[in-house]
Symmetry: C2
Subunit: 270 residues, 2 copies
Amino acid sequence: MAQPSRKIAAKRQPNRPRIAPPANARHGRAIRAPRATSAVLVYESLHNEIIALRIEPGAGLSENDLANRYGVSRTPVREALLRLADEGLVEIVPKSGTTVSRIPYAQLNEAIVIRKALEELAVREASRRATKSQITGLWSLVERQREAAKADDRSGFHAADEAFHAAIAEAAGYPGIWHLVNQVKVQVDRIRHLTLPEGGRMLRVTKEHAAVLTALEKRDGERAVAAMRSHLDGLENSLPEIRRRNPDLFVDQVGVFVLPGPAGRKTRSQ
Amino acid sequence: MAQPSRKIAAKRQPNRPRIAPPANARHGRAIRAPRATSAVLVYESLHNEIIALRIEPGAGLSENDLANRYGVSRTPVREALLRLADEGLVEIVPKSGTTVSRIPYAQLNEAIVIRKALEELAVREASRRATKSQITGLWSLVERQREAAKADDRSGFHAADEAFHAAIAEAAGYPGIWHLVNQVKVQVDRIRHLTLPEGGRMLRVTKEHAAVLTALEKRDGERAVAAMRSHLDGLENSLPEIRRRNPDLFVDQVGVFVLPGPAGRKTRSQ
DNA sequence: CAGGCACATCTTGCATACAAGATATGGAAA
DNA sequence: TTTCCATATCTTGTATGCAAGATGTGCCTG
C-alpha cells in the first residue's frame, strides 16, 4: 500500500457539507444518530439479539448467512460486524470466521467497578449543579419506574432505569459519562436477563433510585454517592451464582484454546 | 430490508475457528491486535494524522481521494473512516461528504474530569495491589522518561508517559481503565502539540510521576490519588489560553451552521 | 489401523460497478 | 440585477465478483 504522497490538504472539493453534522458522537461510539441505513439496521438488530442472548455466545456468524437472512448484501453486514467487534460482542478471525463472544467473566467485576466510579462522579456533581427542573424530571422518571414495577412491565422498567442514570449524568453537566457507562456495561447487560425474577426486585431498585434522588435534592452529595454505590452493588454479588448456573456462556480468559474433542466439554454451539 | 426469518442458531457451519481470538478487544475499540489489513493501516495513518493536527480540523475527506492516495480501493478506506467516525474524529454526512471534526471545546473539560476519576480509581487500587515487580517496572518507566526529558526527546517522553499510566491501570488489576482513558482523551490529545514548549515541562511531569509512585510504593493510596490528581490538573488550566491562540480549530457546539459566505469568517479549509 | 497429504469448500479482505442523494454551477426568467 | 431551476458532478451507500487464506474431509500411503 502506497503512502500518501503529500500532506493532505485541500484540493478543491466541490461537495462539502455546510452544516455540521448532528451532535451524535460524543466521546466515542455512543449514540450516533441512526442513519437509517441498512448497515445501521443490521447492527442494531444483531446488537439486540446478542445482548438479549437470543444468539448464543460462541455461535458462529457468517457474513453470507446474515446477508441472506436480512436480505441485503455482505457490505452492510460487514460494517455491522466490524462495529460489533469493536464493542467486543463478536470476534473476527481474519480468513477463518466470526463468532459471538463469550462473556468474559473477569471483565464483569472490572466493568462494575468502573461504572461505580463514573456514576459516583456524576451523582456527586449532579448534587451540586442540578437545576430544579432537572430534579423534577428525575422524580418523574422514578415515578414512571414505580408504575412499570407495579405493572410488572420489565421492559418499561428497564427503559426508565436507563433514563434515570442518563439524566443524572446530564444533570451533572457530564453527559459523556453515560455514553462511557454504556460502553463499559455492554457485557454486563448480557447477563441481565439471567437474573432470576427475584420477587420485588424492581420495587427495591425503584426505592434505591428514590434514595439517591432524595439526597441529591438536599444537595447532600456524599450521601447521594453512597446511595448510588449501594445501588450499583446489587448485581456484583450475584455474579458467581449466575455463572454457576450458566457455565457455558462465560470464558475466563480470552486467547486460550477451546477444547473441541471428546476430552473437553463441547462448548461450541453446534 | 427483510427481517431474519427465524432464530439465528446453528445450521452446520464447516469453517469455524477453534481458537479463541487474541485478547484484543477489552472494553471496546481499544487496542485490537493490528490485523495488518489495508483497512487497519489506513485507519492508523489517518488516526495519527488527525491527532497530530497534520490534517486540519474542518478539512474535507473524500473516500475516493483517500483511496487514490493510499493506493487501495474505497472499501478499506471506508472501514477506516467508519471507525474514525465512531471515535468522533471525523463526521460523515450521508450522501454529502466527510469532514475532520473540529475539536469540541466543551468536551475537553469533561474529558479531563472523567480521566481524573478513572485514573484516581486506578492509582488507589494499584496502591493496594501492585506487586513488587510491578513497582520496579514503574520505576524503570519513570527513569526512562527522565532520560527522554533530559535528551529533549519529546516522542520518547510521550511514549514513556503513556506507558506509565497504562502500567498503573495494569497494576490495579483494571487494565480496561486505560482503554477507556484512551477513548476519552482522544480530543484532548489533539491539542497536545499546541502546548508551548514551556521550559522544564517534561522534567516537571517526570517529578509528578515520581511523586505518585513514591506514595504508591508506600501503599499510601490517598496520597497517591492526590498526587495523580494534581498531575492531571496541569493541562486543564491551559485550555483557555490554547483556544485563544487557535480559535479556528475549535467548535463550541456541534450541530450549528458554519457560516460559509463573506459575512462570516471563512472557516472551511479551502 | 495410523498418519499425512491433496482437495473441496468455506471463510473474510478487497476491488469495482452501480444507485441514490446532495451540492455547486450556469443559464433562463423575472 | 436578482431569483429560480435544470443539470452536471460530486458524495456516500450498496451489490457483486474475485482473491487469498483457513478448515474439514477423505483418500492414499505406510
